[in-house]
Structures are given as C-alpha cells and as structure tokens.
C-alpha cells in the first residue's frame, strides 16, 4: 500500500504497540502531525519539549515499555536533549522522533536547522537521519529494537520534512538485519563456576542490587537467591523497589547518602555480588579504598561496565535474570548468622541517630514529611522525585516494596524531572496512585507542565518540599564552602496561588500534625492536588560521604550539636 513518510511513522508506532506519544508540533514535523489525526494514537501536548522527553522517560520507567516523544527541528530538538541524556544515563528505552529541514537544504543553515544527529550522538544509544521515506519502515523497526535490547537506551530518528511528504510503497519489515546489535549471551559456564566457588567460600557476602534488577524483571529470582544463600541486600538509588525494603535481608540504600551501617557493611564484606549496577562514583566513594577486603562478582549485561571502575574477580556478562536463574539452583543453601548479627548491631546504632526518632522541636522536617507520606499511602504509591535533598530523603524514608514504584533521575541528576516524568508514569499506569515529590527549585524548572497535567485531566498528587533554598547545593556550601550561600536562597511564587491558577486544588502545610490529614484528604479527592510543605530551611541530608571520600568516612547527623566527621 502507498503511504507518505508521515503516515509510515504512525503505522510503525502502532505496530510497535505505542498508544501514547508526548510532543510539541512545529514547521519541520507538520506533515507528521497532520497525519497523526488519522491514527488512534493519543498525543499529549506538552508545554516544553524537555517535558515531552521526561514524560516518555517516566512512561517507560513506570511500565517497562518504550516511551516515545516527538518534536520539531532546531529548538524543538535541542530542548529534548536534557531528557535524552537523562534516559541515556539511566538506560531507559525511549524513541525520539524529530522533524528536520528538507533534505535539499540540509547543511545550508536553513531556518530551524540544527545538526540533531550530531548533537545527540553521545547521548543516544543510536540515532538516524532519514532523507528518503523508503528507509523509514526499517529505521523505525530498528529504532525500537535497539531501544529495548540488551542494556536499553534512547534512540533518535531525525526525519527530513520532504521524506515525511514523500509517498512510497509501505511494507512493515517483520525482521531486520542488524549484525551490530549483539543480543546478550547466556552466562558462560566457566564464569558461573568461578562465581559459585566465591559464593561458597564467602563468610561476609553482600548483594549490591541496582537498576538491572528492575529492568530485567529479576525481583523474585533475586529474593530466592538472597534467601537461599542468606545474603543481605543493599540497594543503589535506582535499585530501590527491586528488592522489598520490608524484607529482613534488605539493608536499604548504599553510597553517598546511604545509612552508615550499609556503607560499613560494604567496607567489611568479603564478597560483593554486584547485580545490575555499575559502581557509580556516588555508590563507591574513593575507589582506592572501596571494599578493600571483598572479592567482587559482577553480573552485568553491558560488557563495557566490567572493570570500568572496579576490578572484579568474576564477571557474568549476561542478562541478570538469566544469570540468577542459572546460579540459584547450583549454589548451596547457606547461612551467615554472625555476619547478619554484626550488620544488625550497626543497624541498631544507626536507628538511635535516625531523625525519625528525634523530636522535631515544633519544626516541620522534610524527612518527617516523607516518612508520614509513606505511612499515609501505605507505601504503595508510585513516587516520582526530582533531584536534590528531597530525593535523598525519599530514598531513605519512603520504603518501597515493589519494582517501578520509585521513579527518579539517578545518573544525570536532572532537576525538573519529577512533574513531567510523573505525567508519563500516570499515563502508563492510570490505576496507580502517583505522587510527585519535588523541591521548590526543581519544581520551578518544569512547572509549566501543570497545564499539561490539567489538559490531560490526570489525577496526580504533588508534594513540593519548600525550604526556600536550593537545598542540596546549600548543604554542600554549608559543609565544604564555609556556609557561603552563593545563589542558593531562592524566592518562590505563592505555590498555592500558582496551582490554583491552573485550576488545581492546593494546600499549604507547615506543622507536622497537619501532614497526614492533608495527605489523607488529597488521596480522597479524585483529581490533582498540590501540597506545599514549608519545611525547616537549613536541614541537611545525613549521613553523607563527601564526594571522592572513603565510603567509611561519613558526616553523621549530630545528636543536637553541629555535625561531626567520623573516621
């Protein structure tokens, strides 16, 4: 059948199972938008293309499906880039479609021309420039295949306007030839044997569970493995939800803002089992002193992560699920009671310092807000955070038991992520209770998407933790720059009035006693609700391993007096 390039875009998306896209029209993508009217695909009109990229990302994180965003050439495409890079760093399967100037004028600095494939080359898994509609069916098919396969990631398809208008014979390729796309092999027998040997010998083993657990759907098999081998589990930020935090073997988050006893366990362990994580610097601290007594087993789908930051003793380059399914029946049932008792002692000591057990002195503390939100929602909400202090408090105090219930920008640390990503998440999972947890700084970066939320009539609850500062930067200034608060105090609008202007119900909370009742009230209301929590201004996230320091050297929360550094 004859189809225009524009029609082929949507024909392809339908065949890939896409029913929702996020985008913003413009000159070079107009033929595609015109054709869209004839296809059963829901288009979410955003207020800024960065929002579209984060929505596609949030959609993918919440569902595991490929998220799709559309933009025009030039500024439309460049506005996507922050979102593309966010998806790249966290390995999120996404496809970005951009219009490009007609092929005849490519390279002439035509109106709204930008070298989009050039700009996005280092922040995509792969990208395409399409100048002829004949290429489109294959390119679209390949784009989705690449986005999903192996370690997932963003793929961009830049399509010239004349290729969108060109009419060609359309046939959907059921298979495509991609000799350079290497599907992950099953774990090698030699490597399995070496790993099993290390596991059998270990006395103080520890699992480090990362995003790969969630991406590969390994939560259940991980639980079987951990229980059979009596091995405790520490989580990376993106691993949260991959292993239930209510499980007795779950220690919680590791790294820069991980609990002291978790980091101490890493430094004391004699075997680390790194499952679908990449030894990011926020997790390891100083590499020279990282886990000095531990052998390391790295199970990772991306061979280029093996030995990148940390030298390992055994590596299984494979899909994590396949590796765990192969390993679990072959490892003996083990117990590590002494080791668990040692960790348990550290846990007790940590609890004693926990802010949850400290009096608030009449102040509203952000950690208390998150804790109460967790209680009020029964820990079952999908929480989409922004980046900063509130993000770390969320990771510490909202205990997630299910995969894909914490959606957060880890690798890139993109402020402005929360609101648009939550819109994407809600569209992927309309039945889920979705909460935005954002700071006053990050929220203002993309708050224009409140209009998108209303336009799509989405029931999303928004908690803005307002401390009047760019809190995490202020905290670094407090600790490392002699409290010189350069450009971190921040004026915000009256958030209640702002939300009201968008027709969104809004509340302001500044007392602990009002937190749970206000959250309860918001949950009962069908529709979006905005709650501004005015919290203590100069509170800090503890504990903290200063960037590049030894994992064992952390700044702990002072009992009452100023922070102490423990070595």
């Amino acid at each position: 059948m004859q189809r225009t390039g524009a029609q082929i875009i949507w024909e392809s998306l339908l065949r890939e199972g896409v029913d929702t896209v996020f985008g913003y029209p413009g000159g070079a993508i107009l033929p595609a938008y015109d054709a869209l009217l004839d296809y059963p695909i829901r288009h979410v009109l955003v207020r800024h293309e960065q929002g579209a990229a984060h929505m596609a990302d949030g959609y993918a994180r919440a569902s595991g499906k490929v998220g799709v965003a559309v933009a025009t050439s030039g500024p439309g495409a460049t506005n996507l880039t922050t979102g593309i890079a966010t998806a790249m760093l966290d390995s999120i399967p996404t496809v970005f479609i951009t219009g490009q100037v007609p092929s005849k004028v490519l390279g002439t600095d035509a109106f709204q021309e930008t070298d989009v494939t050039g700009i996005t080359l280092p922040i995509t898994k792969h990208n395409y420039l399409v100048t002829d509609a004949h290429e489109l069916p294959h390119v679209m098919r390949e784009a989705f295949l690449i986005a999903r396969s192996g370690r997932p990631g963003p793929v961009l398809v830049d399509i010239c306007k004349d290729a969108q208008q060109q009419k060609v014979e359309f046939e959907w390729p059921e298979t495509v030839r991609l000799p350079g796309l290497h599907e992950p092999a099953p774990p090698a027998e030699d490597d399995l044997r070496r790993a099993i040997e290390l596991i059998e010998k270990a006395e103080r083993p520890l699992i480090l569970a990362g995003a790969g657990v969630i991406r590969s759907g390994s939560s259940t098999v991980l639980q079987e493995f951990a229980e059979k081998t009596g091995t405790p589990v520490a989580l990376t930020l993106l691993g949260i939800g991959g292993f239930p935090q209510s499980h007795p073997l779950c220690l919680g988050m590791m790294g820069m803002h991980g609990e002291a006893f978790v980091n101490r366990a890493i430094q004391r362990a004699d075997l680390l089992l790194a499952f679908g994580m990449r030894f990011d610097d926020r997790v390891t601290g100083n590499l020279k002193t990282y886990a000095p007594t531990a052998k390391k087993i790295h199970v990772e789908i991306d061979a280029s992560e093996i030995g990148k930051n940390v030298k390992v003793d055994a590596a299984l380059v494979s899909d994590l699920r396949a590796a765990l399914v192969a390993l679990t029946p072959r490892v003996p049932a083990l117990r590590h009671d002494d080791w668990l008792a040692e960790i348990g002692d550290g846990q007790k000591e940590t609890r004693g310092r926990d802010i949850i057990h400290q009096p608030d002195g009449g102040r509203l503390l952000a950690a208390h807000v998150i804790h109460d939100l967790w209680e009020a929602t029964g820990g079952s909400a999908v929480v989409v955070t922004d980046v900063g202090q509130h993000q770390m408090w969320e990771a510490q105090y909202y205990k997630h038991d299910q995969p894909r219930t914490l959606i957060t920008s880890g690798g890139l640390g993109t402020m402005g992520f929360a609101l648009p990503a939550a819109i994407g998440a809600k569209m992927a999972r309309p039945q889920a209770e979705v909460w935005v947890v954002a700071g006053d700084g990050g929220f203002q970066m993309t708050q224009c998407e409140l209009a998108t939320l209303q336009q799509e009539k989405l029931d999303i609850k928004i908690a803005v933790i307002n401390n009047g500062f760019l809190g995490m930067v202020r905290q670094w200034q407090e600790f490392f720059y002699d409290r010189r608060y350069a450009s971190t105090p921040m004026l915000s609008p009256d958030f209640v009035t702002l939300a009201s202007a968008y027709g969104i119900r809004a509340h302001r909370v500044n007392r602990r006693a009002d937190v749970i009742p206000t959250v309860d009230q918001a949950r009962k209301f069908e529709g979006p609700v905005f709650i501004e929590f005015q919290v203590e201004q100069e509170d800090s996230v503890y504990p903290m391993v200063p960037a590049g320091s030894d994992l064992g050297a952390m700044i702990r929360r002072p009992a009452e007096a100023p922070a102490e550094v423990e070595r």
Partner: protein, 178 residues
C-alpha cells in the same frame, strides 16, 4: 602498551564519526586509525592502534562493540598477524645522488615513484619498524614531506601462535577472558 584492534563496521554515513566520538568522549588514546574496504561490499574495515595506558584494551573493544554499526571487534595484539604501513616520503635529492638513494631504498624494497629536479618521492610498504628504519636513514638527507597510512593488520591463516593454539583459538581465548 599499544594494542591493535580490527573492527568490521557497516559502511554507512557517519560511522567514522561515531568511532571517533567514542574515543574522544571516553578519552581513549588513538595511535592510528585506518579505514578502508573489506571482502564484503557493505562492510568497511578499521585497524585501530590504541594506547592502553589509561583504559584496558578489553574496555575499548567492549565500547566499540556497543556502537550499532560496529559488527565485530578483534584484538589482534597477541595474535600472529601481517602488519603493513605505507609511507610516501619526499626527500631532497640532487640529480647526482639519485643512484645512491635508489639503492638505499631498494634495500627496504621501496621504490622511487616521482622524480623532480631537486627531490624524489619514495614509496615504502612494510611493518612499522621497517618504515621507521628507512625514515631514520632518509632523515639526514632532508625529509621535505611525508605521509603514512597508519597500520593495517590481518591475522595469519594456518600458523600457530607458539602455544600450540591456532590463531582462531588464541583469538577466542583473548576475547572470552577478561
């Protein structure tokens, strides 16, 4: 040390840019990179010599394999290979010195491929050491201009690598292990 990687890549626009961009972004150090045709019409072949002081060769190879147009990467450093580099060298040469120069070049199985009043162009092909050797000898005469292709390499066929392994076995062993 220096490692030699052979990459087979789909012959499509921008593939060299992708490889170059990868090396730039990861701060991998390229000693030389050559691209040209291969036995398959839509596949180009790159020979890349990398300095592995900062990043181990397996990491460079693994990153190359992640590029979609890269079909195959082999580290041939420890395999028996035929290596070739081609150089064109313009050397200052008065007419009276031509015969002497020609015999010198001949020892290296090079050729004089162009003659001008006061200079000649010498063409020489060989492994890096041989080309370097000739260059050293020509340097006192005044090298006016020089261009080298950089190394191209191909694994030898039936010979063993000295450990009783065939080239293919040795290659599998290098790639399979960390």
């Amino acid at each position: 040390m220096k490692h030699t990687l052979v990459a087979k890549v789909s012959d499509q626009p921008g593939v060299l840019n992708r490889v170059a961009s990868l090396f730039r972004r990861r701060a991998f150090n390229i000693e030389s990179l050559t691209v040209g045709g291969s036995e398959t019409s839509d596949v180009s072949r790159m020979t890349i010599v990398v300095d592995t002081a900062k990043a181990p060769a397996h990491l460079v190879a693994a990153n190359l394999r992640k590029l979609i147009p890269v079909v195959e990467v082999t580290d041939v450093t420890h395999l028996p290979t035929v290596d070739r580099d081609l150089a064109l060298i313009r050397v200052g040469c008065a007419p009276a010195e031509r015969a002497e120069l020609a015999s010198l070049v001949d020892i290296f199985r090079g050729r004089i491929v162009d003659v001008a009043q006061d200079s000649v162009i010498v063409e020489v092909t060989g492994d890096l050491e041989k080309v370097n050797g000739l260059l050293e000898l020509l340097r006192p005469r005044g090298i006016l201009e020089m261009v080298r292709t950089g190394k191209v390499a191909m694994v030898r066929g039936t010979v063993t690598n000295g450990n009783g392994k065939t080239a293919q076995q040795a290659q599998d062993a290098t790639l399979g292990r960390l």
